[in-house]
Subunit: 147 residues, 2 copies
């Protein structure tokens, strides 16, 4: 059943996902998109990283969060993309061996036209110790039933 | 020469980068991190995409922007990661064949301790027609000369 704009309400909450973070994927993502030494250079990390070990690129954490969102929330939604995000924060490093999950809450729904509406959704990502590692407010466009 | 917190000033501007966007990379990124149909399903895109063709995941655009930032601005910087970003916006779709570039401007520098400071940098990504496709304000931590 497709979820349209009219089906989404302020205060709706959900929990989803299980994403296992591997050393190989951390390095592969960072080598392509964020080759700062503290994401890719294991010898230098060993010697001098302030994080005490290999950590994922923040953009990788955002991408893994998106994967969980798509599999759960957007799979059956009449979502047609996002305008952007606000207050994106990387609270704690994500490390190899972490298993991530997400929690979402609809913070606002704004009709924009007869065909579309804006859904503002708070997304928080947690690690296996239930520590919050990432959060943002997404501004997502949904089609209405007439859209 | 390493760029420390003391070397960064409000109003500093730069232009960098040249990133060629390919169909293969758009689909590869989206299949792993953002498998919404309008990023991966070329038959359905042909039939019904509101975007008139394949477009990159917004997180892919963010990641390509980060790659250009790292190659230029962070390669020689005493940057130790970011707290987050504000006002992240996807202004226009990014398509196969686009060549992206970025412009940056330092909007604020905030000393946080004798060892570290926060640099707020506006980042804008443009396509080959000089249309802005992406923007954000990054909150990046830099070491001081004493850090």
């Amino acid at each position: 059943m497709t979820v349209f704009f009219e089906d989404v309400s302020e205060g709706d909450r959900s929990e989803y996902g299980s994403y296992e973070v591997t050393r190989e994927e951390i390095i592969r993502f960072a080598e392509q998109y964020d080759p700062q030494w503290f994401h890719v250079d294991e010898e230098r990390i060993e010697r001098e990283s302030p994080y005490g070990g290999l950590i994922a690129s923040g953009w990788h954490t955002a991408a893994m969060t998106m994967r969980m969102l798509v599999e759960a929330e957007f799979r059956d939604a009449a979502s047609v993309g996002a305008k952007g995000t606000d207050e994106l924060r990387w609270w704690r490093p994500v490390r190899p061996g972490d298993t991530l999950r997400i929690e979402t809450e609809i913070v606002e729904t704004v009709p924009e036209s007869p065909e579309r509406g804006l859904v503002r959704v708070r997304v928080e990502t947690y690690d296996g110790d239930d520590e919050r590692v990432f959060s943002m407010i997404g501004n997502v466009m949904y089609l209405t039933r007439d859209g």
